[in-house]
Amino acid sequence: MIARKGRAAPAAGELRLGGRAPARVVEPADADELAAALGAASAAGESVVAFGGATLQQTSNPPRRFDVALRTTRLNAVYDYDPRDLTCGLGAGMTLAALARTLAQHGQFLPLDAPRAREATLGGTLAAGWGGPRRLAYGRPRDLIIGATVALADGTLATSGGMVVKNVTGYDMAKLYIGSHGTLGILTRVNFKLLPAPAAQRFAASPFEDDVRERLIAHVRSLPIPPTALVLRDAYAAHADPEDRRSSPQVTALFEGSASNVERAIRDYRSALGAAGVAETRLCDGEAAKTAFAALLDAYVAVPATSFTLLRRGVPSEAPRRALHVREALARSTAEAAGAAQGWETITDLLTGDVVARFILRAPGVDEAVAACAAMREALDGAQLIAASDALTPHLDAWGSVPATVATMRALKARFDPGDVLAPGRFVGGI
C-alpha cells in the first residue's frame, strides 16, 4: 500500500509476535499517512499493532488478532528544535540513538534510558511505559514529555500539550498514552523538555562479597551526593565449573554533573564502599562511561539462550529484600529444573526500587519456565514480563495480575477504540 523508498520493505515474518506474523506491514511516511492507514484498517475490521524498533514488544502479551503491523520508522523527523529553548518536537519513530546524536551536538540530552538505543524508538519507549535507572535524578519519561500527537483508531489525529515547559491547558493526555502499549492510539509526534548534558560522567563497578551486602547497601544509600544510577547485579551459572558458578555480585554506579561534584561524589562513594569492606572499584569516564551505562541498560532486556525476565517496581527500601526472595526462588527453580536450567541474573536498583530477575534455560523447557515464572512472581509479589525468548512468549502472561482499576481502564479502551482495533489483548486484563 505504501512504498518505501530506497529500502526493501520489511518482511512480515520479521515482525512476529507470539510466533505469529501479521498479514501485512505498513510503513507510512508521515503522521497523516499513518492516521489514514489506521483509519482504513479500522474500517476494514483489521487489527493493528504499532512497531517501532521492536525492542520492548515482549513487555506486553501477543495480540489476540494481528492483521497489520504498522511501523513508525519513517516518522523520524525533527519537527521543532531550537536548542536555546531546551525543548524539541520529534517524530515518534526516531531512534533514541539518533536523537542522542542530534542533542549532543548542542550539549543537551534526554534521559529516557531505554535499552538498545540504536533500534528503540521514542514512541515505542513511551508506549511501553519504560522507566530507567536515572529516573529519580532526571524524572521519568512521563515527566519529560510536554506534548504529544496520536493517531486514534478512527483515523483522526489528536494533539495535547505543546512546546512549552509548563502547560495546564486541557487534560494531560500524553500521560494516558505513555504505558498504554499502543492500545489507545499510536504516537506520531512527541515533544520533550531537554536537559543540559552533564559536564562529567563517571561509571564505577565494584565486585563485592555477599556477606557485606547489607552494610554496602546502607552506606551507598546515604551518600551526600547520590549517583544518578545505582544498581546491584547478581548472576549464577549452573553449567559452569563449581568454582565459577556464582560470580561475585557487583555494585555499579553512574555519577554525573560538574567535574568538581563528580570528583567529590566518587571520593565519598569509594570511602563508603571501603567502609563496607569493598576494596576494588573499576572506574571509567566520558565515552567509556556512556558505553558501560548503555550496556547496563541493554542487560535489562537481554535474552540469553532460552530465557525470560521479570520486572518488579517498588520502593527502594524494599528492593534488596525482594531481590533476595527472588534469588532464593531462582535457586530453587534452578535445582528443580535440574539439567534444563542454565542459570539466573538479577538487577536490584537501589534508587528506584526496581528489581529485575531473569531465569535462563538451556533448552526450550516451557513447563520449567512457567513454573519458575510463577515462583518468581510469588517471591516478588507480582511482576511484569519485560523480555522473553520467542518460544516462551505464548506461554507466559506479561502482566501476571490485574489492577483494581481495570474496569475504568476497560471503559477507556472501549471509548477510544470501540472496534478493538489497536493491539487487541496485549494489555492488562486482556485489554
Binding site: L86, R142, N167, V168, Y171
Partner: protein
C-alpha cells in the same frame, strides 16, 4: 423526592452538612470574580463521607464541585450550577511519612507549605510551591496541576504525585499508582480540575533539601533586557532553581509592602535562585552573573543569609497581594511561551496594554516562559472592563501565535474555557472529551469547567442529560 440538602443531612448529619444561606455564601466564589451559591456544602472527614455525598448528589441529579482553599484564579471552584460543594478543610492531615523512600501520603486539604514545614527536620521537602502555598491546599494543587517559581528545575505538581485515591461518579473509591501496570489514571486525574473525580488522598514524592541555596537579585533597565538575559541563561543550558522577573510597577508595590530589599530604581528585577552543592552554587552564580551583566544588568547582589533570602521570596510570592493594595482591580493572565520568545512577547504585551490604555504589571516565572501580566482596571468603569477583556484576548492570541499556550499553571476553569479552542482542534478536544465520558458520563463533576461550551465543540461540551442553561 427529598432535596439534596435534606438527604445529605439525613445521611451525614448537621456536623458535616452546611445548608444555611450565610454558611453557603463563603463557598460561592474563588479568586476569580464569579459568584454562584451551592445548594449544599459538605465538610467530610473521610473518603467514605465524600463517597456518600457524591452518591446522594448523583441520585438528586445535582453537580459536585470539590474545593480546597478557594485560591484558584480561574473560577475552577465556583459552583456555576449550584449543587454540592465538597470542602476539604477537615481532611487536612499528613497521613504517612516514609522518610527512607521519600514519600508521603496526605489528605487533599493539607496546606501546601505545612507539608514542607512538617518534614523539614528530616532534610526533605515537597517541591511544588505555588505563590499561594501558605493557604492553598495540595488537593487544589493537584486539581490545577499547580506550578510555582521552582518549576524550572523541579517540575509541576504532576511530577510529584505518585498515586491518588479518588471517588468516581458512582461514589466508588479507587486507588491509583504510577508504578502499577495499566493506564496512568494518576497522570490524567492530576490537572483535570475536578472534572473527572474527587481526589481524597495523594501520595507525593519528596526531595532532599539541597546542600546550599543562594538567592540573587539583578537590576535591569527594563523588562525586555531582563527577558533577554533569561533567554540567554536558558539558551546556555543553565537551569537554576528559579528565574523570576518583576517589572518596575510590581517591584514598587512589593517594596512598599514588604521592604524586602529589591532595587526600586530598576526598570525590572531578576530574582535568581541557585541550589545544589556549595561548588554548584558558587560556579552557578558566577556564570549567571556574567550572562546577566552581558545583557545589561545594572547590579547583581546575593542575599547574605537565610533571613534575607526568605524575605526576598516572601515578597515575590506576595506580589499579587501587594498589587491588590494599590490597584482597584486587576486581571492576571497565565500564558506560557517558548523561552526564546520572551523578549518579543514582553514587548508585545507592553504595546497591547498601551493600545488599550491599561496599566500593566509583570511578575512572572521567566525561566519557564510562564507570563503573568496583571492588567489594572476599575471594575466600575465599563469601558475599562471591556478594554481588559479585549487586551487579554489579544495577549493570549499573541502568545499562541508565538508557539505558546493559554495557561501554564493556573488552569482553564470557567474563565478560559472558551479560549481552549484557540489552542486545540475539535479532534484534540474530542479525545479529551472521551476521557471525560468515561470518568464522568453525566457531566456532574465540576460542570462548565475546562471545556468550551460552543457548538464547534458540541461533542465535548454536550451533556448526556439535559442541563439548565449556564449562568450568564
Amino acid at each position: 423526592m427529598a432535596s439534596l440538602a435534606s438527604r445529605l443531612l439525613d445521611a451525614l448529619g448537621p456536623d458535616v452538612v452546611r445548608t444555611a444561606a450565610e454558611d453557603l455564601a463563603v463557598y460561592g466564589f474563588d479568586a476569580y470574580s464569579d459568584n454562584t451559591l451551592p445548594s449544599a456544602v459538605v465538610v467530610p472527614s473521610s473518603a467514605r463521607e465524600v463517597a456518600a455525598a457524591v452518591r446522594i448528589a448523583r441520585d438528586c441529579g445535582e453537580p459536585v464541585v470539590p474545593r480546597g482553599a478557594g485560591t484558584g484564579l480561574c473560577g475552577g471552584a465556583v459552583p456555576s450550577r449550584g449543587g454540592l460543594v465538597v470542602s476539604f478543610s477537615r481532611m487536612n492531615r499528613l497521613l504517612e511519612l516514609d522518610v527512607a523512600n521519600r514519600r508521603a501520603r496526605v489528605q487533599p486539604g493539607l496546606i501546601n507549605l505545612e507539608l514542607s514545614n512538617a518534614i523539614a527536620a528530616h532534610g526533605i521537602f515537597y517541591a511544588p510551591d505555588p505563590s499561594s502555598q501558605k493557604i492553598s491546599t495540595i488537593g487544589g494543587n493537584v486539581g490545577t496541576n499547580a506550578g510555582g517559581p521552582h518549576t524550572l528545575s523541579y517540575g509541576t505538581t504532576t511530577n510529584h504525585v505518585l498515586g491518588l485515591e479518588y471517588v468516581d461518579g458512582d461514589g466508588t473509591i479507587h486507588r491509583t499508582s504510577i508504578d502499577d501496570c495499566g493506564y496512568d489514571l494518576t497522570g490524567v486525574l492530576v490537572g483535570s480540575e475536578g472534572t473527572l473525580g474527587i481526589v481524597t488522598e495523594i501520595d507525593v514524592r519528596l526531595l532532599a533539601l539541597p546542600e546550599a541555596v543562594r538567592v540573587c537579585v539583578a537590576a535591569f533597565p527594563d523588562v525586555e533586557s531582563a527577558s533577554e538575559a533569561v533567554s540567554a541563561i536558558v539558551g546556555a543550558g543553565l537551569i537554576p532553581t528559579a528565574l523570576e522577573i518583576m517589572d518596575a510597577l510590581i517591584t514598587h508595590a512589593v517594596e512598599a509592602h514588604f521592604h524586602a530589599g529589591y532595587p526600586e530604581n530598576a526598570g525590572a528585577v531578576l530574582l535568581v535562585e541557585i541550589a545544589g552543592t556549595h561548588d554548584d552554587v558558587a560556579a552557578g552564580e558566577s556564570a549567571l552573573e556574567r550572562i546577566a551583566r552581558a545583557h545589561g544588568a545594572l547590579s547583581w547582589r546575593a542575599a547574605r543569609d537565610r533571613v534575607e533570602r526568605d524575605a526576598l521570596w516572601a515578597a515575590r510570592k506576595g506580589a499579587a497581594g501587594a498589587i491588590g493594595q494599590i490597584a482597584p482591580n486587576y486581571y492576571i493572565q497565565d500564558a506560557c511561551v517558548p523561552r526564546t520568545r520572551l523578549p518579543k512577547v514582553m514587548h508585545a504585551i507592553d504595546e497591547i496594554a498601551r493600545d488599550h490604555a491599561l496599566p500593566v504589571g509583570n511578575v512572572f516565572h521567566a525561566g519557564d516562559g510562564n507570563l503573568h501580566p496583571l492588567l489594572i482596571f476599575d471594575r466600575r468603569e465599563p469601558r475599562q472592563v471591556q478594554a481588559v477583556v479585549d487586551a487579554g484576548t489579544e495577549i493570549l492570541r499573541t502568545c499562541i501565535a508565538m508557539g505558546g499556550t493559554i495557561s501554564g499553571e493556573h488552569g482553564i476553569g470557567y474563565e478560559k474555557r472558551e479560549t481552549l479552542s484557540l489552542v486545540f482542534s475539535t479532534n484534540d478536544l474530542a479525545a479529551m472529551g472521551r476521557v471525560r465520558d468515561v470518568f464522568d458520563p453525566m457531566r456532574s463533576f465540576n460542570p462548565d469547567k475546562i471545556f468550551p461550551s460552543g457548538a464547534a465543540c458540541g461533542e465535548v461540551g454536550a451533556p448526556i442529560v439535559e442541563r439548565t442553561p449556564a449562568p450568564a
